[in-house]
């Protein structure tokens, strides 16, 4: 059977054994081993976490709207910044990418499912427990984690609240989930490609995820080690990070950032894959420099292991180390630049249209690049002494994570929603969502650059009077951005409930790839016989 076009028997419903789903809500969603169901679970979970972490950001911005303490006490403020960070990193961005991987990788490479379906189920169902455990700590006496998502020792050991053990176990669970997800991705891509789907024919989303998965397997155990040492330092009298017992608090930072920097790329490489899928579609032109995209991704991943200490320039390192990490960090801008140039070259002399996924993709390219520029500025050690731990850094990483990673996830959602649900999104609302998000995200994060340059440290619940006006603007941008995401919620619910236009098998004129050769919504089981790869 040549796999499918819109005229495929699957679409006409003649051959409906491909569509059988388990009976009953519980059996369908809790016991599922179907990559599409698990993908949907991941995506819905990450959206719920995005709104939860976002609500915490609203608390932070409300407290910072005016100088003085109005709404929350400093100890709770610190819990908000900490849990906001942890939830957005481990609960929103990463599971969203794993959800996209689950849904799209088997479909894109011509595989019937992920290679390890039961493990797939487990790696998802760990997450609700992990995050319940972490959110529960907020209601404990003494409160939840309040030492920043980077949990530097000894603030997270000797001086941390009693709930720290639960934080450690929650992070362990998240790590186990991520590692299992990563193993699944690698095994699937390596073993389950359809005949003829050679490595250099893989869609870039698959390539970037393959590389991301290796990063995950390399660094999640390091994070597990770091939290375990925090656990034993706090509860069992070890002194890994305590100078009085022969340890070193700065060693914690080396270990954490050896995980943390690759982690940053874990949260952006799949975005590169998404943008590399969307830009050619709406330019009606093949991606420029496919091979160089693959090599650029691989070199970014490789370099990510050599730059961790650029987060630690002020900890007091030898000059030679500072220079090494500065040079390596600067080098990263070269492969990253290649990617941006390739996307622009793909658009160049294309036949462009601006559907919502493309709008988000273009916003991604511009705003991610701005985040890249501030990243390059931060790499320069002498100047980093001024930027470090100020709002300049906050602006930088929110540009790459919100208008970068999150915008790419939005782009991907709009791009593939028709395939997932079988219905087109409400274009009117989607455009409102885009323009509101675009404007508010810049009102929210751009002025933070100025706050940082003017000398406002990050992670403070109250600030000097000179920062008042800009903080008020930032907070207004924050509330607007938060509200804008509710539009997205409505758009998604409408698609899921089948309100809207029926989607064609290939709703985008310029789209290419196996996912567009099957009907929309994608049948429960796809590629049960391997497709033919041209």
């Amino acid at each position: 059977m040549s796999t499918g076009s819109a005229s495929n028997p699957l679409a006409s419903g003649v051959d409906d054994h491909h569509n059988h789903k388990p009976n009953g809500f519980f059996a369908r969603w809790v016991f599922t081993t179907n990559h599409k169901d698990i993908g949907s679970l991941y995506l819905l979970f990450s959206f719920a976490m995005f709104l939860t972490g976002g609500a915490m950001a609203m608390v932070i911005r409300a407290e910072l709207f005016q100088p003085g303490l109005q709404l929350v006490e400093p100890n709770f403020f610190n819990q908000m910044t900490t849990v906001h960070g942890l939830i957005m990193v481990f609960g929103a961005v990463m599971p969203a990418f794993v959800g996209l991987a689950n849904w799209m990788i088997p479909v894109m490479i011509g595989a019937p499912d992920m290679a390890l379906p039961r493990m797939n189920n487990w790696s998802f169902w760990i997450l609700p427990f992990a995050f319940s455990l972490m959110l529960m700590t907020l209601f404990m006496e003494g409160g939840g984690p309040n030492f920043g998502w980077t949990f530097y020792a000894p603030l997270s050991t000797k001086y941390s609240p009693d709930s720290t053990a639960l934080f450690v176990f929650a992070v362990h669970l998240m790590g186990i989930s991520s590692i299992m997800g990563a193993i699944n991705v690698i095994v699937t891509i390596v073993n389950l490609r359809a005949p003829g789907m050679t490595m250099m024919k893989l869609p870039l989303f698959v390539w970037t995820w393959l590389i991301t998965a290796f990063l995950l397997i390399a660094v999640m155990p390091v994070l597990a080690g770091a939290v375990t040492m925090v656990l034993t330092d706090k509860y069992f009298g070890t002194s890994f990070f305590d100078a009085a017992g022969g340890g070193d608090p700065v060693m914690f930072q080396h270990i954490f950032w050896f995980f943390g920097h690759p982690e940053v790329y874990i949260m952006i490489l799949p975005s590169f894959g998404i943008i590399s899928a969307i830009v050619p579609t709406f330019s009606r032109k093949p991606l420029f420099g496919y091979a160089s995209m693959v090599y650029a991704t691989a070199s970014i991943a490789g370099l990510s292991f050599l730059v961790w200490a650029h987060h630690m320039f002020t900890t007091g390192m030898p000059v030679a180390a500072e220079l090494f990490f500065m040079y390596c960090t600067m080098l990263i801008s070269i492969p990253t630049g290649v990617k941006v140039f390739n996307w622009v070259a793909t658009m160049w002399r294309g036949s462009l249209t601006f559907e919502v996924p493309m709008l988000f993709a273009i916003a991604f390219i511009v705003l991610f690049t701005i985040g890249g520029f501030s990243g390059l500025m931060l790499a320069i050690t002498p100047v980093d002494f001024q930027y470090h731990d100020t709002y300049f850094v906050v602006a930088h990483f929110h540009y790459v994570l919100v208008s970068g990673a999150i915008f790419s996830i939005m782009a991907a959602s709009y791009y593939w929603l028709p395939k997932w649900t079988g219905y087109m999104y409400d274009d009117y609302l989607a455009k409102w969502h885009f323009w509101c998000s675009l404007i508010s995200v810049n009102v929210l994060f751009f002025p933070m650059h100025f706050l940082g340059l003017a000398g406002m440290p990050r992670r403070i619940p109250d600030y000097a009077l000179q920062f008042a006006n800009v903080n008020a603007v930032v907070s207004l941008g924050g509330f607007a951005f938060g509200l804008s995401q509710l539009i997205f919620l409505v758009v998604v619910i409408k698609c899921m409930r089948g309100k809207g236009e029926r989607a064609a098998a290939k709703p985008w004129e310029g789209a290419e790839g196996l996912e567009w050769e099957m009907p929309s919504p994608a049948p429960y089981h796809t590629h049960t016989t391997p497709p033919e790869i041209k």
Binding site: L69, P74, N75, E141, P154, S351, I362, V383, A454, A468
Partner: protein, 394 residues
């Protein structure tokens, strides 16, 4: 090169004036906070040669980024405006060009080398604290700074001077709200000052933007930094590393004085230190009455203790223990004095023996034993505190 430098300077002054205009627009929208000083929209040039170099480096790299950004985004928006389907654009089908790809890999590499050279020079200069004229030990603790002048008998704590009623919006905030301290660090102009930075508890970070000095204070380790200030003045900074609840409330204020004024000041401080020790001896003989003790005790408590144990003595459940009705504050007097003087290791409870005078210690301990319905009726005298100190010191 000088041509380039000049044009960089022109562009940077242009950018500065654009910033000022933008600020005016903002101010018109938010003119209600009349107290607010104007906020600079760019990094400070500072008052040292190093901070000036850092500023120049910042502007150079910023402008390079702007130029690259303009070129890339111009190309992209050109395509967005001209290569659109609704304008009848037909898609070309090219998808690689080795020559172009090599060029756009090589050019950024050259630009990076251009950035790395001045950055390396500045960094090496910044990391050379040798041949200092004056050495100061800077010690962070939750949530205050301690300064010790090496070779002189001068050391003191420096605490936030903005009061709780300003923080909680009951009183008008002063001009330098959250950026003011009781005892600022005083430094000489024109001399090379070396800082030895360390911490007593968690990691803090000592940052004064005008000097381009930010150095982490790591417990158990000592970091070095230095500065040579060019202009007398008052320079303000803040702790830059999350250090717990009151991380936002431990500012740094430096007063830079001409060398002769600085030396006069230092001599005065040394005399004061001697006088304070004499006073301490005299105090052992005197006794406070309840009213005096409660009055002084409340002041000391609010400044040094209330951040954790709270003004109402109830602490924060699960984080900082309550004193109201607690065993320590209502029963064993010696145990109470002991924990205030020596702290409790493994917790956030610091040793206040060296931070406060005997009279202050006695007053605050007595206050804790009588405030919030603790009503033990105990009046604590400096001599009792001294006795506990000496016993433990043996």
């Amino acid at each position: 090169m000088s041509q380039l430098e000049r044009s960089v300077i022109t562009i940077s002054s242009l950018i500065r004036s654009v910033h000022k205009c933008g600020y005016l627009v903002l101010m018109m929208g938010f003119s209600n906070s009349a107290l607010a000083k104007s906020m600079p929209f760019n990094l400070t040039e500072g008052v040292t040669d190093v901070s000036q170099q850092v500023y120049d480096l910042h502007m150079t790299i910023f402008i390079i980024c702007c130029v690259i950004g303009l070129v890339v985004f111009a190309a992209m928006f050109w395509a967005i405006f001209n290569h659109r389907k609704d304008k009848g654009a037909q898609a070309a089908q090219f998808h690689e060009n080795t020559k172009v790809e090599i060029i756009w890999t090589a050019i950024p590499f050259v630009i990076l080398i251009g950035m790395a050279i001045p950055a390396t020079k500045t960094l090496i200069a910044m990391e050379d604290p040798s041949d200092a004229d004056l050495t100061i030990q800077v010690t962070g603790s939750q949530w205050k700074w301690h300064y010790k002048y090496f070779g002189h008998d001068v050391e003191y704590y420096s605490l936030l001077a903005s009061r709780q009623d300003q923080i909680h919006n009951q009183k008008q905030k002063r001009e330098n709200y959250l950026l003011e301290v009781d005892y600022p660090l005083v430094l000489p102009v024109g001399q090379k000052v070396r800082f030895l930075v360390t911490s007593e508890d968690v990691i803090h970070s000592w940052w004064v933007p005008a000097f381009a000095v930010k150095k982490d204070a790591n417990p158990g380790f000592i970091n070095e930094a230095w500065t040579r200030i060019n202009e007398p003045g008052i320079y303000r900074g803040q702790c830059a590393e999350l250090c717990g609840k009151d991380h936002g409330f431990m500012p740094i204020v430096v007063i830079a004085k001409p060398v002769d004024e600085f030396e006069t000041w230092l001599a005065e401080q040394e005399q004061k230190a001697v006088a304070a020790k004499a006073e301490e001896q005299a105090m052992l003989a005197m006794s406070m009455d309840m009213d005096e003790m409660m009055q002084l005790g409340e002041q000391v408590y609010n400044k040094h203790c209330a951040a954790c144990h709270q003004a109402n003595g109830e602490g924060l459940a699960g984080v900082f223990p309550a004193l109201k009705g607690s065993q320590i504050a209502t029963q064993d007097i010696l145990g109470h004095i002991n924990i205030v003087v020596h702290g409790k290791s493994g917790t956030a409870m610091q040793a206040f023996g060296k931070q406060l005078t005997l009279k202050e210690l006695a007053a605050v301990i007595g206050y804790e034993r009588n405030a919030w319905d603790n009503n033990t009726g105990d009046v604590i005298q400096p001599a009792q505190v001294k006795a506990v100190m000496q016993q433990k010191d043996l």
